[in-house]
């Protein structure tokens, strides 16, 4: 697992950071001077003297042979050695470096607020009530540093729409700066019960934007229990319908746990009947972070024991011509006929394998592996898949 918010080991020259510095990492020592003020130079032994004019200089290892120039010469700690050309970082006065954007990652997440109007029993990113408006401001500032070959950005929270006007500004900025980048918004959809809000999103006319909206049950009270909010089911459904009225792409996200697995087939039927217009349904395994860990005993169920319900749901949805995908499941616990729906979805910086995976031909290949948080509990039925002879 990569640490995206680590502290650098030391400063080799004085720091000049009146406010946190956002910079794009480059290892090009010939970068035109005019651009150096926005860039952090990553020294990899590519030059005999350090170029001047960069906002910061990063060293991967203590190469004492070269003389630092200017301010903000920083020695990375070993866990930051993955930082590479094209990444966008924020350097804080206390030497903490946040990696905002990793060019090599298949998707980058933009956490725009930790506030949320739901309080899901298995939330991996528990909401915090305090004002964190600075987060979305930081993102709006950072977008121009990202290279426009970036395939996808995920806007997440908390509940991103709680950022209000800034939420729309962020999407507008991404569309303008990164016109070829897909946007995936993870929202509970409740605020889109307002037709006006759905319309406002559509008016940005983003060509490749999808909203991932969780729906946990076909029964209102069960969904409301999972998200711990009365009325949430109605708001989410109304939001989905409003967004679709304005032609937005929608992914339904169902996290499978003890409170949701039993009615998976009924939920699939409900979606097929009422929401057949959605673009995708993602059936997701639990990530044991945050509240999921606090409520682990109450919500845990071994994925091996809900395969029947999962298979029925997949069959109902795919028969209804709805694209269905399975996320966060190890291939070996899925019924063989479900494996073709599985996506290697766990972000590379969170992905791990277990000792039981030793000798499995799918580990690191087609199997998405485990969240690193799975160390707290995982299926008892992990068995290596062997080559067919």
């Amino acid at each position: 697992m990569l640490n995206l918010h680590a502290r650098a080991s030391s400063a080799r020259t004085q720091l000049d950071l009146p406010k946190p510095l956002v910079a794009k990492v480059t290892s090009n020592h010939n970068l035109p001077r005019q651009l150096r003020g926005l860039s952090a130079f990553l020294y990899e032994g590519q030059c005999s003297t350090l170029p001047t004019g960069f906002a910061a200089v990063l060293f991967r290892h203590g190469d004492a042979a070269i003389d630092p120039v200017g301010a903000n010469n920083i020695e990375l700690s070993a866990e930051q050695f993955y930082i590479a050309e094209g990444d966008v970082i924020r350097i804080h006065a206390d030497l903490k470096i946040s990696v905002i954007y990793r060019r090599n990652a298949s998707s980058n997440a933009l956490l725009v607020t930790e506030q949320c109007n739901s309080f899901c029993v298995m939330c991996s990113q528990p909401p915090k009530a305090h004002d964190d408006a600075y987060r979305i401001d930081d993102w709006i500032e950072a977008i121009p540093f990202i290279e426009d070959c970036c395939p996808e950005l995920t806007i997440t929270g908390g509940e991103p729409t709680l950022a209000g006007d800034k939420f729309f500004e962020l999407i507008t900025v991404i569309k303008a700066q990164l016109p070829r980048t897909a946007i995936h918004i993870l929202t509970n959809g409740r605020n889109f019960k307002s037709v006006r809000l759905a319309q406002r999103l559509s008016e940005i006319r983003h060509p490749d934007l999808m909203l991932g909206i969780p729906l946990y049950s076909d029964v209102a009270s069960i969904h409301n229990y999972v998200v711990q909010a009365d009325g949430a089911f109605d708001e989410t459904i109304a939001g989905i319908i409003n967004l679709k009225r304005f032609g937005q792409k929608i992914e339904l996200r169902v996290v499978i746990h003890a409170a949701t697995f039993k009615r998976l087939p009924e939920l699939a039927e409900f979606v097929a009947r009422n929401l057949q217009f959605v673009d995708q349904v993602s059936l997701m395994g639990l990530e044991l972070m945050g509240f999921a860990r606090a409520n682990l005993d109450e919500i845990w169920i071994d994925p091996a024991s809900y395969q029947k319900e999962l298979a029925q749901a997949v069959s109902i949805l795919s028969r209804s011509r709805i694209r269905v995908l399975i996320f966060n499941h190890q291939l070996c616990v899925l019924l063989p006929e479900l494996r073709k729906y599985a996506v290697k979805s766990i972000s590379d910086w969170k992905r791990e394998y277990m000792p039981e995976c030793e000798g499995c031909i799918e580990a690191d290949r087609n199997c998405g592996g485990f969240f690193s948080s799975a160390k707290h509990r995982y299926s008892k039925f992990i068995t290596p898949i062997r080559a067919v002879t």
Partner: protein, 487 residues
């Protein structure tokens, strides 16, 4: 237990304790022990009678699986959610949306001439040397005017006869002129030729390939049965149609040809043989059809030779054989069942002209006869051949589109036969799967609504609905196959 900051499920179930309200629902018996309960968009549950009484008397236990199922399928709602009504509205609009598209199927009777002399012919074909029974180019032009006046974004032009290929030059004329007009109209335009394939040549097939025309033909079963049902001079009808089907499959592709069968008394004892004939031709679809009470079928008395109950037995025997074939690895669907299953199992409406309410007459499908007369349906034209012009909307050479489609007889028939307001239909659990056929009921009972207790349309459809639901309830393997058909 959840950690202290969370409330448990019972808290969120409290609103359900305040009692539930009923949404519109209908129920009908399925068999001695069971009832079908359906909502206004065709979602259904099969339940015992006492269970239905419990629902209606508000005795269903909150939090039970049945309670959740009834809520999920929009039979009841309670204080925990108000979304059922807007969702039902959305689904109801979806089911009805085709009515607003207006006429999509345009049937051109390019000739009444035919080389066959089928005793069950619903039309009154003419021997094939009378040019007087061919449609003219002028008439075709006027018909194309009508076609493109329909607002439907998807237009299907179907060539009917007689034997259509006896007037193939006119088909070419219509196809090319329709394509030309469509350059500005930009509809999703499709063509189908209904033909017995007697005169099907490679040149015709190449033309079909070039213009994306598909072929619909008639195959009644094995050679002896086919030739008896569908007599032709030379007694080689079966051989011609089989060769034709194979040729089309080879030259145009498997999906470009489909076949229909019509049941005579002789057919009823040969369900398996008929279906096996389709399998031998590697066809993946078969349409099991009873005879229609029009044209020669009535005049020759063919229609009276068996009743609907007997035909349903044949249908069930055939369907059982088709399901068996599927179980054994050969995918073949029965078309009528597929249409009905789509109505039962999907939020969409398959748009089959004969199972719609409001009725499909003229507003879903319309017929342009060789002589320029316009009829509300194929059956209406057949009725007219029996000297009853009730559903003749007018003539292409004398009447306007507006006048023909606002024809009083037509409007009255459509309006008074809407199923939700028809006696018997209004209380029937199968209403969402059924449709209205005013022409049929007028032809058989001289009343566009008709007494459904005496209606073979009703008997046939109820029998099929009950049978399909029973199969899905009682046999998991059949259920999977039937659900697959609906997808």
């Amino acid at each position: 237990m959840l950690s202290r900051r969370f409330k448990d499920l019972s808290h969120y179930r409290q609103a359900e304790q305040l009692g539930y309200k009923l949404l519109p629902m209908r129920f009908s018996y399925l068999d001695e022990n069971r009832y079908v309960l359906s909502n206004m968009v065709g979602e259904y549950l099969v339940l015992r009678r006492d269970c239905i009484e419990d629902i209606v008397e508000h005795r269903i236990q909150v939090s039970s699986t049945l309670y959740d199922d009834l809520k999920s399928k929009h039979f009841i709602y309670d204080e925990s959610s108000q979304i059922a009504i807007p969702l039902l509205g959305l689904k109801y609009r979806t089911k009805l949306t085709q009515a607003s598209h207006f006429t999509g199927l345009h049937m051109f009777v390019v000739t009444l001439r035919c080389d066959y002399s089928c005793p069950y012919c619903q039309v009154s074909r003419q021997t094939d040397d009378k040019i007087a029974y061919d449609m003219s180019q002028e008439t075709a032009d006027r018909a194309l005017d009508m076609v493109f006046l329909s607002p439907n974004p998807a237009i299907k032009i179907e060539f009917q006869g007689g034997e259509t290929l006896l007037n193939f030059p006119l088909i070419q004329y219509i196809v090319e002129h329709a394509e030309k007009r469509n350059k500005t109209h930009q509809r999703d335009l499709k063509f189908v030729i209904a033909t017995n394939l007697s005169f099907c040549t490679d040149a015709i097939l190449d033309y079909c390939s070039l213009h994306g025309i598909s072929i619909s033909t008639s195959l009644d079963g094995p050679e002896a049965l086919h030739n008896k049902n569908r007599p032709r001079p030379g007694k080689n009808g079966h051989q011609l149609v089989v060769e034709g089907i194979k040729r089309i499959q080879r030259r145009l592709g498997k999906d470009c040809v489909s076949a229909l069968m019509t049941s005579t008394l002789d057919s009823l004892s040969q369900a398996r043989e008929i279906i096996d004939e389709y399998v031998a031709l590697q066809l993946n679809e078969i349409f099991l059809r009873p005879m229609s009470p029009y044209g020669f079928a009535v005049r020759t008395g063919q229609i009276d030779k068996y009743n609907t109950a007997r035909w349903l037995e044949f249908f069930k025997e055939g369907l059982a054989h088709i399901l068996e074939l599927n179980k054994n690895g050969y995918p073949i669907r029965e078309i009528y069942s597929t249409i009905v299953l789509r109505k039962m199992l999907s939020p969409q409406e398959p748009g089959y002209v004969d199972l719609r309410s409001p009725a499909g007459a003229a507003i879903a499908g319309i017929v342009y006869n060789y002589d320029g007369n316009v009829y509300a349906s194929d059956e209406a034209r057949m009725l007219a051949e029996m000297m009853d012009d009730k559903f003749k909307l007018g003539n292409l050479h004398t009447d306007s589109y507006e006048a023909m489609l606002s024809n009083d007889e037509l409007m009255d028939a459509i309006e008074s036969s809407v199923t939700v307001s028809c006696p018997s239909c209004t209380d029937c659990a199968f209403l969402p799967y059924c449709g209205s056929d005013p022409v049929y009921h007028y032809a058989t009972q001289h009343d566009v609504v008709g007494n459904k207790a005496l209606s073979n349309f009703c008997t046939k459809n109820m029998g099929i609905f009950r049978h399909l639901i029973s199969l899905m309830e009682d046999d998991p393997v059949s259920r999977n196959i039937l659900r697959h058909w609906a997808s």
